[in-house]
Symmetry: C2
Subunit: 343 residues, 2 copies
DNA sequence: CTGAAAGCGCTTACAG
DNA sequence: CTGAAAGCGCTTACAG
């Protein structure tokens, strides 16, 4: 494998000059640049990543932390983020951690070990950021949850307006005449002082606000059932919810995966969607449009979330620009899973 | 951040001795080991990955190449592989490439750039391995497709017995009385000289063998429709297949994702599963058990595939053992999507 | 069992 | 604009 010294020898220049060419520095003569670039191409020379990392004391990798197991939405976000990173000539390291793990604690250790040049958090719970994100001195971006209220230095965020979208779901169910509406998914414990603390929980927050403003009552003990972001979670909690509170006519599942489990649960309870019960999901994963019935849902723009997040991160790695907190527009998908409640 | 020199200074030993302790070499006195380990712990010292990589001229990372976009089965395999890698104290780099990309070409470049200590291929098409895997001198493992017939040096594989499992699907449909059976998914072009060349294609091969042995006819032009491994692919190809060949009573979709698209297509065509048409999938992704109806499928043991693959790879990285080609047992899931054909 | 020293492949002040 | 040289943080023959 050719090294920078080989290229230097073959071109008749010093390794310093070759290095300058590789790094696109301006202070190189046109002639030297041409000659050296030719040889680099001819030899198919690739600089040794570790040597660069060591010298610059920053790796060329971006680390991606995915919080949540078997989470289809995050998987498709991950895929898009990775592709975008590669298209920009960088490499990505990935860590999957459990929904209940502390992603910032993982990140702190990872930064020390791998010295990534940037960090991408997919899914996130705000309290862990509050607790020790200050220990992280690497440009970072939180995708799919807003970090705006945190004001962490070095942490941008790109997300759907979960609160507004949650409210939109409710407006839709209310406009179809539903007055007994249940909510499925998330962890109530994740709230402290009543405020939800991660992206998905804000969906609930927005939904509740809308209900309140419309004068429709909601009782957490009766009308809500929490669960993990999985089909099995949705299945179990939907069963519990409907058995306890059979007069519900509409359900908001705070993720599509949960909704898919819920459809199955309703079917097992002998309830038809939407004739007997209406259902709205959240995320817009591919399967949502292949369920029977097709799921009404909020489609998050994963393409834009991924691209904007990576671009912001790469720009901040180079130019030390201020962090950004941007809401990316979502789309309401009507589907076939909502109808007017029966008399 | 502490370096090995700091630890050396603080312990009163040389960096050489500290290095030996870090690398668990035997030729260190008990006293030195204790003392140095204490200080390492106290300082929370972590060796610099790039320096090690540079020195050893092999990175501490394993690169994972995932071939296929938005592929739920591979995503869950990826997640398990990554977790297993981390549990063994290693790190993982990930590249997602398109179903139609050449994973070995990507790997060749990646090896040169990143010098991973090992390579994991998730999903794979045999022809690309045949073409230029010989350029790769890093221990590798192919997961979910067998590389046995390739005999590539340095390439192990762990997979479901796709051919046998495909035959099992057919046996099941035949035993329920089906005689007009269609197959959905994969690319016929991927075969050369009539033999399929990637894992999923072997499923078709096994299915056809079984039909032949049972004296049931199958006409590729009429009874088969290829497509990508996506719900949309399954949806479109199922529609085409049933419109062209409406007398089919049973369908084998060679992945669950394809089957989920097919269920939706049948519903749009006014066909009920399984009353009007029976359907069997393949893979055993989580959603398969939450469809309405629950999908009959072959459940691949992703947990075992992931664990065995990573363990074999790590062992071969250290001990230079021979490669292995192992078939991991699958499980037939009955589901609710198969019935006897109507009179 | 331990230390002194070379060197992995780069980058970057420094000097000219 | 270019080169000589130091040094990033490790590992490992070599010598004792």
């Amino acid at each position: 494998m050719a090294t920078i010294r080989d290229i230097a020898r073959m071109s008749g220049y010093s390794t310093g000059t070759v290095s300058r060419v590789i790094n696109h520095r301006a202070d190189v003569s046109e002639e030297a640049r041409r000659k050296i670039e030719d040889i680099i191409r001819e030899q198919n020379y690739q600089p040794n990543t570790s040597a660069r990392t060591l010298r610059r004391s920053a790796s060329s990798e971006i680390s991606i932390i995915v919080r949540g197991n078997d989470n289809t939405f995050l998987h498709s976000l991950l895929e898009k983020v990775q592709i975008c990173i590669r298209e920009n000539g960088e490499n990505a390291n990935v860590q999957f951690i459990r929904e209940t793990d502390d992603e910032v604690a993982v990140a702190v250790e990872l930064v020390q070990n791998l010295r990534p040049k940037g960090l991408v958090f997919l899914g996130g719970s705000i309290p862990s950021f509050r607790k020790e994100f200050s220990k992280i001195d690497v440009p970072s971006v939180l995708v799919s949850a807003s970090a705006e209220r945190l004001g962490c230095e070095g942490l941008s965020s790109f997300s759907t307006d979960d609160e507004e979208a949650g409210a939109a779901v409710m407006r839709m169910l209310l406009s179809r005449g539903h007055r007994r509406i249940g909510i499925l998914g998330g962890y109530r414990e994740s709230s402290h002082d009543g405020l939800p603390e991660d992206g998905p929980a804000f969906r609930i927050w927005g939904a509740l606000r809308e209900l309140r403003e419309s004068g429709v009552s909601f009782d957490f003990g009766r009308d809500y059932e929490g669960c993990s972001f999985s089909a099995e979670g949705g299945y179990q909690s939907a069963k519990r919810l409907l058995c306890r509170t059979p007069d519900l006519t509409g359900i908001f599942a705070i993720s599509d995966t949960i909704a898919i489990g819920a459809i199955r649960a309703f079917s097992d309870l002998g309830l038809r969607v939407p004739e007997d019960i209406s259902l709205v999901g959240f995320d817009g994963i591919a399967y949502a449009q292949y369920c029977v019935p097709r799921l009404a849902t909020i489609r998050q723009d994963t393409e834009a979330l991924a691209r904007k997040s990576v671009e912001d991160l790469l720009m901040r790695i180079i130019y030390d620009r201020p962090t950004v907190h941007e809401k990316v527009p979502y789309q309401f998908v009507n589907g076939e899973s909502v109808a007017r409640p029966r008399e």
